[in-house]
Symmetry: C2
Subunit: 345 residues, 2 copies
Amino acid sequence: MRDIPSKNVTITQVALKAGVDRSTVSRALDPKKRALISDAVVKRVEATAQALGYRPNQLAAALRTRRSGAVGVLLPDITNPVFPPIVKGIEETLRAAGCVALVANADGDAASQAEVFEQMLARRVDGLIIATAARDDLLVARCIEQRVPFVLVNRGADARELSMVVNDDRLGTQLAVQHLVSLGHRHIAHLAGPQNLSTGFVRRAGFVAAMREAGLPAGSIVNCTGYSREAGKSGCEKLFAKAPDITAIVASNDLLALGCYDALQGMNLSCPRDVSVIGHNDMPLMDMVSPPMTTVRIQHREMGAQAARVLLEHIASPDRAPESVVLQPTIILRGSTAQPRQAGK
Amino acid sequence: MRDIPSKNVTITQVALKAGVDRSTVSRALDPKKRALISDAVVKRVEATAQALGYRPNQLAAALRTRRSGAVGVLLPDITNPVFPPIVKGIEETLRAAGCVALVANADGDAASQAEVFEQMLARRVDGLIIATAARDDLLVARCIEQRVPFVLVNRGADARELSMVVNDDRLGTQLAVQHLVSLGHRHIAHLAGPQNLSTGFVRRAGFVAAMREAGLPAGSIVNCTGYSREAGKSGCEKLFAKAPDITAIVASNDLLALGCYDALQGMNLSCPRDVSVIGHNDMPLMDMVSPPMTTVRIQHREMGAQAARVLLEHIASPDRAPESVVLQPTIILRGSTAQPRQAGK
């Protein structure tokens, strides 16, 4: 395994011990400048540096070269199980390129997001993968202004000329509606996500379009203010207060759908006997919940891997044009959807 | 919200614009040295810096003061749902102290752990919270050697004189065995975690002790090589190959217990009718799986919060003695445990 040198050994100590001056040590240990020095000296300096446990000051090196080997990842909520598999995909690709991901939770208000963002830049990350983006995002504007390489992942932005790797969220809710229609449902409602986020906004648009295409009256819609089980529970209760004849719910994500499970249980309604529920994401464990959840699967790891690839290309070629990748979702049929009960129940 | 200044404005530009020299700008913007300058000049420099969007170079500042406001968190596996709530607890406490957590996944082999560790130190974090520790851990040894403030969280180490915040893992499995004994089980097996990790090792010791205290013959034990649903499934199959008369399983964590669910289904055995299963951690969604899981709840957020508190104290007082915190678990009774079926089934 790779040795971890002590941080207390200085370049001066290495120079003294090797009998050369400091600039020679610096050149000998820099792959780009090594050719300026004789092989024998390079070998002597390397052996001395290793024996003493010298670690080149990577911070100072980053200040000079503006390349650190670290990439920042901004998450909106590390406890939302959809993000860890995306991070995993990011890490696998970065690791293969010799880079490390540093993850920070940038949830909360704009001020604390800005704080985390500043800390990342201050740590001289080479670029950012942003999973926190609102449709009109302040941090994105700052990245552009400050020429920080970045890629949006999972959540896109309204501006077109940005690099982003997202799921085809519109298609996702269309698949969900089509499945319910094929089962015979007509009273289908949508529990929408936050409308300032692309996921919430685009999935809602997909729902509206699919209902129209199916020739059904517009379904009831309630917008949730966040993606959480709790928000899903209260949103579901609001849906039933508004439209008690609902036989199926398309939720904007799996946490909201789990909140529907909670609400239905509280109202003594059974899923899928009384009400079918479809989630979005197929986050881990959705095959284990009761009932196992029918949901729209997005390609988490692939999404992370593609985001890392695009970012690495931007870091290598700062003038490269933005690249937008849209991944295809699939619907996973499990136990939370069934035919509606006969009319006159 | 706080303004994010541009990184391209230099101290020289601020000095020129404010009509003072660079050292005056530097002093005026440093709360510790501000008193050396007249109030009027401080105000002028501040206004100019703000107007130009000047950001003091925090990296250079960290090099001077060795304080960065960022803390590194090393996780073994971000996709294991037990860790995000711990990170949440860490972040809440750090944020209250004006610090930010940078999280890195240090899974994989020793070489890639060392790589992540080095990257963290190179980014000048003020200290580390380590959730990856093996009982005899190389990175811990390096932290001590290099005088990096650190705290272990969730996983402890054999060495006593270290700061760590852990769960009482021995008590956890004892509570699990006592619950099963009270239901009438006698053929109780243990699906143990990796024995090089304190959690796997101590929980196994608690199981052995509790079986002895209950006057039962030593139960069958299979050690898993990792904490995953897949490892739990194959471990559970090995348990039944070894001891087909098992009526209950104490798993070393919830992922292993979910793997037992998978294995039992594959063997056409029903939980809890044929076999009771108990997990450990009460990670998110364990109330939603089928059957809802009886498990030992550890205090994730509190564990993270305490680890952050201890680390901040070490950063503030580098010579402070190590502090060890042991949190108490509780058993949460749900649907995966029941009385054993009558003999002669």
